[in-house]
């Protein structure tokens, strides 16, 4: 067996402890360390370092996380419950979260998925004093929920711009971490429903702002979103 010196022994130390050293070199390194106080101290320090790493605390998932995360995964691939109306609303651009109110409200899914329904009257003077107060809704962390906003338009408004901003601990489902999403869409005369699925990823309260613009006219809707802890099993 070849003899090795301290420098080589210390170079081999990590591989020895990892079990990656060929048998002959491992035996020679171990032999050297056994007879060398300095290298033995190095080995002990390396072993303590590894033990400390293995003992480094890592938290368990928060209560309810597994249930909520698994449910959200299943939900995220469930057929979109509103898909059927899109077949009847071919005029609307794909991907725009608008529905006709009467269609949406008449569907059985309406009451089940809607968190809130706010009606914004188009054409309300846009002074600061007259802006509607933000609505308040509450969601449970990790549970995707839908917020419905109804917009009454006095006349058809083709090519309106809808911009949705989210702040705080909430995201728009399907848009990842994007905090601002914009669509071009046609508003029909009458009531148009904006359907916005949101999900909270933390307990930080959120805020959702929808801005509808047509020409020089702007309608803004604010929703404060409180977030509750998922129930423990």
């Amino acid at each position: 067996m070849n003899q090795i010196d301290c420098q080589l022994a210390q170079q081999h130390l990590d591989d020895l402890l990892d079990g990656y050293l060929p048998q002959a070199e491992a035996a020679a390194t171990a032999l050297h360390i056994a007879g060398c106080g300095a290298c033995a101290a190095q080995r002990q320090a390396a072993e303590e370092f590894r033990a400390a790493l293995r003992q480094m605390p890592a938290p368990e998932p928060p209560p309810g996380f597994a249930d909520a995360a698994l449910a959200a995964a299943a939900r995220s691939h469930a057929p979109v419950p509103t898909a059927w109306w899109k077949q009847r609303e071919r005029r609307r651009p794909r991907g725009t979260p608008w529905q006709r109110l009467e269609v949406w409200a008449g569907a059985a899914i309406g009451a089940a998925v809607a968190m809130a329904l706010m009606v914004a009257l188009w054409g309300v003077p846009q002074s600061g004093e007259l802006l509607p107060e933000p609505a308040d809704v509450r969601v449970v962390m990790y549970e995707a929920r839908e917020i419905g906003v109804a917009i009454d338009a006095g006349a058809a408004m083709p090519g309106a711009t809808l911009t949705v901003f989210v702040e705080g601990g909430i995201d728009l489902v399907g848009y990842g971490e994007r905090r601002e999403v914009r669509w071009q869409t046609d508003l029909d005369a009458g009531t148009n429903l904006l359907s916005l699925p949101i999900i909270a990823h933390s307990l930080q309260d959120g805020r959702l702002t929808a801005l509808v613009e047509h020409g020089e006219r702007v309608q803004r809707i604010d929703v404060r979103v409180g977030v509750d802890t998922p129930p423990a099993n």
């Binding site: 990590d14 990892d18 990656y20 303590e48 370092f49 590894r50 400390a52 790493l53 293995r54 003992q55 480094m56 605390p57 890592a58 938290p59 368990e60 998932p61 928060p62 996380f65 597994a66 995360a69 698994l70 959200a72 995964a73 299943a74 995220s76 691939h77 469930a78 990790y142 990842g176 971490e177 990823h201 933390s202």
Partner: protein, 205 residues
């Protein structure tokens, strides 16, 4: 009259149950790994959630695997690389991102600060090392955290990691050695920070 579920709904329920059966037991491990990679609870939650959403449609592929865990870790790593990691691993980080001294856990290290009651010297030494390690951990690059977490903590061999991380064994080995060296450097440097902290506590600064 009781309503029978429609066939589509039954299939959906079966998929959800099967997905639950395969993935639920892995969630604590995936979360721990995600936490060690990101060093932040909220990012760990996002990462695991993103993983579950991404692999849900691949249930057939999952069900055919002998061992889901390395497969899931590999997918989670890809998501992490694509979405979560920083563009650069600069050694300079904003002060607000650095752990405060006196922290013991990675994200809330104060929870594990050793108390001042008399303890056996070895135990105190271990606790101090653990605390310093947790503080140093957040200062590693993400690649470094990942390779140490997977190899030294979870016990994967380099050959296994090469497949999971899609990185050659030689590259991983070099990365592992550099990561350990960096961690040791940080640990060696930490007492300096401690000294400043002690001075602050004594009101001399």
């Amino acid at each position: 009259m009781a309503q029978c579920p429609v066939p589509d709904q039954q299939a959906k329920d079966r998929s959800a149950d099967e997905f639950d059966r395969l993935l639920r037991p892995l969630i604590p491990l995936l979360y721990r790994q995600a936490f060690r990679w990101t060093a932040a609870r909220d990012q760990a939650e996002d990462l695991v959630q993103d993983l579950l959403v991404k692999i849900y449609p691949r249930l057939d592929e999952l069900a055919a695997l002998d061992n889901v865990q390395p497969w899931a870790l590999r997918v989670m790593y890809r998501i992490f690389v694509d979405q979560h990691r920083r563009v650069t691993n600069s050694p300079v980080r904003p002060a607000h991102e650095l752990p405060e001294h006196g922290q013991g856990d990675i994200e809330n290290p104060g929870e594990h600060f050793p108390d001042e009651s008399p303890q056996p010297p070895e135990q105190l030494e271990r606790e101090l090392l653990g605390r310093r390690l947790a503080a140093a951990w957040t200062m590693l690059g993400e690649d470094q955290r990942i390779v140490i977490a997977m190899h030294d903590i979870e016990g994967y061999r380099l050959e296994e990691l090469a497949g999971m991380l899609e990185t050659p064994v030689g590259t991983l080995k070099s990365r592992l050695h550099r990561a350990r060296a960096r961690l040791r450097e940080l640990l060696a440097a930490e007492p300096f920070a401690d000294a400043i902290r002690v001075s602050e506590r004594r009101g001399t600064l």
